[in-house]
Symmetry: C2
């Protein structure tokens, strides 16, 4: 039996690299960027007019000129016009490229315009005002989006701005999610009184979609020969095998035995934690990683969030997430010498502090709480009393922000 | 000009209901559930064995029996066996339905089994132990997932467990995202020196995907007749029209004028905020809501997160999100009598408190900061100095947890 920290380190040592593929930028949302995006031009690419108004030579202002003759109108996207005389100006719109012959923009609010003459109503004009200077945000060739981050809407839009219509992103692993056990029937079926419907594998599959992974699903009956044959094929076809159930002390829990027969190297079996103690983890050559999670729905879900998703996150090349802490909103007592993962609801108080309220309840078996749980708190095994106001590490299971 | 709070209230008064549709449960992930899900059976549906071991009549234990004859093995999913004699037991597995003739489970760790006889090694056996009782989590017909919440992986799995293969979810609105302005060229094109590529509408479209909305896109040139004709059609075809650009004081900013000609009722134009002051909002009959956002990318994105996405959230029937607050990590000064939306990076300290670090920078124009910004802080207009340690409302733009 390993500790939670040992299990984490063993798994972390087995990250994999699934390679890189190219996608149209619009399809890359939520994928992991595998290249730096650079600007093809300065950002902004020209001295960008930041207010609607007129563009003048500041020299004229410095000399006391207040009335300017409008010699033309330049829209955003229009080719730059030219000003010949000091007392001439261009009516110019936000987003336009400032023509080289002028240097200062005076906004409409500070002007009166009549019969093609703009009169400046303020004394307060600075050289070069109301401009967003070429290259002020980024210079041509500078990195605007660094590799190894998730493609967000802002990244999609930056890719559009710099003309990167194809993005190199991390390939996703081929994943199979396997349920086990003769007590499980199809979702469409009405179970016999002593059967239940399959549900864990749907949960795992849905959770993997946050990475855009579309996992296959498979069910194994309590039949050692069938289990052996199916797992043999899965180890060839998939890079990640996630099992739920079949790893405890029961007579039909032959998943560990079969995996070892198939030369999957056991990295650990059993973790000092509740729920999820029977968790088994192994690797098959350099190719396939096997997470065999306990079959209880809460155990499956917590192990998925505590171990599998962070492993995927790391394998896709994302930097480690900052550790998150929350303050316990009520006392908890937990005697066993195990790390206790307790389901909680999270909220922020008005001081911006994250509070975690645990569910009263039926322990690891209470599947119904998972609907309302936002996260689980990781309570270390050295203690048995955990007091209100103490701060512990928290693992979110849904987005709270 | 309205305040931020007035703008918010006016928009909130215009929520819409887009109806309900039915989807296979696996396709309902991230949609909004429009019905309560109830259990078709108790949860658990039977007295569920919680440990691998033997099942006995407690009466035998009470009478001092320590050795039990194993009369059969019952796997999870197996039909319940029967025990006739007090000193008989069933070898039984986690997940099995406890047969009516027994009432107590003793785990393998507390047994020695030899030649079909199980000897109990502990004095410490309680009546009814190691069982997860029928209906302990939920009774048949009880609500397990309430309507008006987002379908998470846990909800998908609960739907599977209770056999709800079709889910009634909120319909999504038909949305068009419209960019405006002759300075914008297609992403595939190389812009002329005074042009830029379209990017805002990709950002808006991508951000809407968090609701699973697939928006259409449209570009309008600086041509009043074309703008009128296209907008006329959009008002008929779409329930939500999101424009970016064309609403300021410029000569080609005729979006507000055209919308009013098309009998879109202006609800407000201009908000006391920076960036995003020119924001225009209106409604077309009961059918269509029009958000005309400023064209600057940062303004577009902030207005989207501050106004449009919360409106969608409410229109889809989701309860209001709890307000989120963060502590300012450094002093900021902002003089204008406007609400200041400042882009920040968020992190939690080890006390579980959310800290917001503002970007130094170029103000609303700095599109490049959007890549790294996690959120924006809403700084009220009554102040001009905002000090480190003070707590302000924060609007996340990406998931931090």
């Amino acid at each position: 039996m390993v500790t939670v920290q040992e299990a984490e380190a063993i798994i972390r040592a087995q990250t994999r690299d699934f390679g890189i593929e190219e996608l149209p930028f619009e399809q890359a949302l939520r994928r992991v960027l595998a290249e730096d995006l650079k600007t093809d031009r300065d950002l902004p690419p020209f001295n960008r007019v930041a207010m609607d108004g007129i563009a003048v030579k500041y020299e004229a202002i410095a000399q006391g000129t207040q009335r300017f003759k409008i010699v033309g109108t330049q829209a955003a996207g229009g080719a730059p016009l030219e000003v010949q005389q000091l007392q001439d100006c261009i009516e110019i719109m936000t987003g336009a490229a400032l023509p080289p012959s002028v240097d200062t923009v005076i906004r409409y609010e500070d002007l009166e315009i009549q019969n093609g003459i703009a009169t400046v109503l303020t004394e307060n004009v600075h050289a070069g005002q109301n401009l967003h200077r070429q290259g002020q945000d980024k210079k041509q060739g500078e990195v605007v989006v660094a590799a190894a981050q998730v493609v967000t809407p802002a990244v999609v839009s930056m890719a559009a701005a710099v003309g990167e219509t194809q993005l190199r992103v991390k390939k996703l692993p081929k994943v199979v999610v396997i349920s086990t056990g003769d007590e499980l029937v199809d979702v469409e079926q009405t179970p016999l009184p002593y059967q239940i419907r399959r549900s864990n594998s749907y949960m795992v599959k849905a959770a993997l979609q946050q990475f855009q992974i579309k996992a296959d699903m498979l069910h194994l009956p309590d039949d050692i020969a069938a289990t052996r044959e199916e797992l043999r094929q899965c180890l060839q076809q998939y890079e990640v095998v996630i099992l739920s159930g079949g790893i405890s002390a029961g007579k039909f829990d032959f998943v560990p035995q079969v995996l070892e027969e198939l030369v999957v190297q056991k990295r650990f079996h059993k973790v000092q934690q509740k729920p999820g103690k029977p968790f088994w983890f192994g690797t098959y050559g350099q190719q396939t990683v096997v997470f065999a999670l306990p079959g209880n729905p809460v155990s499956t879900f917590l192990c998925l969030h505590r171990y599998c998703l962070p492993w995927l996150h790391a394998s896709l090349g994302l930097p480690e997430k900052p550790k998150l802490f929350a303050s316990l909103a009520q006392d908890i007592s937990f005697k066993p010498q195990l790390c206790y993962f307790v389901q909680v609801q999270l909220h922020f108080n008005e001081q911006g502090q994250l509070l975690a309220t645990p569910f009263e309840g039926n322990g690891s078996g209470d599947f119904a709480n998972l609907i309302e749980a936002d996260a689980f708190l990781e309570l270390p095994p050295e203690q048995s009393e955990y007091n209100k106001g103490e701060v512990y590490r928290v693992w979110p299971m849904k987005s709270l922000l």
